[in-house]
Symmetry: C2
Subunit: 224 residues, 2 copies
C-alpha cells in the first residue's frame, strides 16, 4: 500500500545500473547521517556530504529533495510500521488500547527495520540531533502532525466513523501523540538507551488519564 523506498536489505537488485544507484543513494544516506551526528545538522553542508561520497551536488539533490529528507529517512520508516501495526490490531479493541498496543508491539519491528538501513546507534544519535536542532525539530513536528492524520484515519475506519465529521479520532490521536512526544523529548534530553524510551513512553501514556482527572491526587507520579 505504500512504497517506503527501502535502502538496504531488500529487493534483489536487477541490473548494474540500479545496483549502482542504490549504492550511491546508500552512501549519501550514511555519510549524511554520520556527518549530522558528528558536526550537527547546520554544521554540515551539502558540499561536505557530496565530497565524502565523491558525487556532484546536483546528484545529491536528484536522490533527496534536500538535507531534511535525508535526516528523516529512518523516522519515515518507523512511522509506516507504526501505522501498519495499528491497522493490524484486533477489531474489537477500544481505540486507546489499540494505539497503546500497536506502539508496544511495533517497537521491535522498528528497531529491526532501522538496523537494516543504518546502525541503530547512529540513528539514535541523529535523533538527538533532530530534537536539538530548531529547524529539524520543526520539521519533525510537522511530520508528526501528518502521522497523526494517518493514524486518525485508521482509528476512524476501525471505529466506523467519518473522520471528517466526527472529531474524536483526531482528538484521541492528538492527545496520545502529544504524550508520546513529551516522552521522546525528555528521553532525548538524557542519554539512556532505547529500552528506557520504550518504558518512558508507555508509562507516560498510562498517566494521561490521571493527569486529566479533576484534581491531581498527591501520589508521587515521579519518573526519570
Amino acid at each position: 500500500m505504500e512504497t517506503v523506498g527501502t535502502v538496504a536489505g531488500a529487493a534483489p537488485a536487477t541490473g548494474l545500473r540500479e545496483r549502482r544507484k542504490r549504492l550511491t543513494r546508500d552512501a549519501l544516506l550514511r555519510s549524511s547521517l554520520e556527518l549530522f551526528a558528528a558536526r550537527g545538522y547546520e554544521g554540515t553542508t551539502v558540499d561536505d556530504i557530496v565530497a565524502a561520497v565523491h558525487v556532484s551536488q546536483r546528484t545529491f539533490f536528484r536522490y533527496f529533495a534536500g538535507k531534511e529528507e535525508v535526516a528523516f529517512h529512518v523516522p519515515r520508516l518507523a512511522e509506516s510500521l507504526l501505522v501498519d501495526a495499528v491497522r493490524g490490531r484486533p477489531p474489537g479493541e477500544p481505540p486507546l488500547d489499540a494505539l497503546r498496543g500497536a506502539l508496544r508491539e511495533s517497537w521491535d519491528d522498528i528497531a529491526e527495520a532501522v538496523e537494516q538501513v543504518v546502525p541503530l546507534e547512529l540513528h539514535l544519535r541523529v535523533y538527538r540531533v533532530i530534537e536539538s536542532t530548531p529547524a529539524l525539530l520543526a520539521a519533525h513536528l510537522r511530520r508528526s502532525s501528518e502521522l497523526e492524520e494517518r493514524l486518525a484515519r485508521v482509528i476512524a475506519e476501525r471505529e466506523g466513523v467519518d473522520p471528517d465529521t466526527d472529531p474524536r479520532p483526531r482528538i484521541l490521536v492528538a492527545a496520545v501523540c502529544g504524550v508520546i512526544r513529551v516522552a521522546e523529548r525528555s528521553w532525548s534530553a538524557g542519554d539512556s538507551g532505547l529500552a528506557a524510551l520504550r518504558e518512558l513512553t508507555t508509562a507516560h501514556l498510562d498517566r494521561l488519564g490521571p493527569a486529566l482527572a479533576e484534581p491531581w491526587s498527591d501520589d508521587r507520579h515521579t519518573s526519570r
Copy 2:
C-alpha cells in the same frame, strides 16, 4: 515580566529616532503580512517587502531575524496573553479547568491586542497562510511546543509539583494543546469567522475525556 515588543498603540514614543524606528518596523510588519496574505509566504521575497517600504534588505534583517519572525509576530503576542491568563487563574482550580478557563477568558483580550497591531481580519488571513504553508506550519508547531513548555511550568507551579520529575504537567498540557491544534486546523480549512473557532475549540476540549474513554459510545459526536 516579559517584553513583548509591542508595535503600535503603546509607549508614548520618546525621541524622534525611536519614533522613526517604530515607523519602519511597523511598515515592514504590515507590508509583510499583507504580501503574505496576497501572494503567499513563499511567493513573497524579502526584496518585495523592502521595495514596498523603501528600505534596504539589510534593514529588514536588522528588525527581524527573518521572514519567519515577521509571520509569527502576532501569534507570539497571543501566546503571551494566554500564558498570563493561565497564571492568573484562581489557585484552587483543577489544572484542566484552569487551562480551559484561561482559554475562554483570554479570547477577547487577544482579539483586542491583535487589533492594535494589525487588522484582525488580516491576521486571520495570514493565519490560514501559516496553516497551509509547510515551512510555516512546521515553525508554528515548533513554537507551539515551546508554548507547551511554558504552560507546563505554570501548571506545575500552580499545583506545587516539580516539572522536571513529575511528568503530569507536560502530559496534560500536551494533550490539551494537541486538541486545540486539531480545532485550529479544521477551522482553518474552512472559512468561518473567529467566533466559530472559539466554539470549535471549547467543544473539542469537552470531547477529550469521552474520546479517551474505553469504548466509544455511539452518540453522534458530530461537529462542523
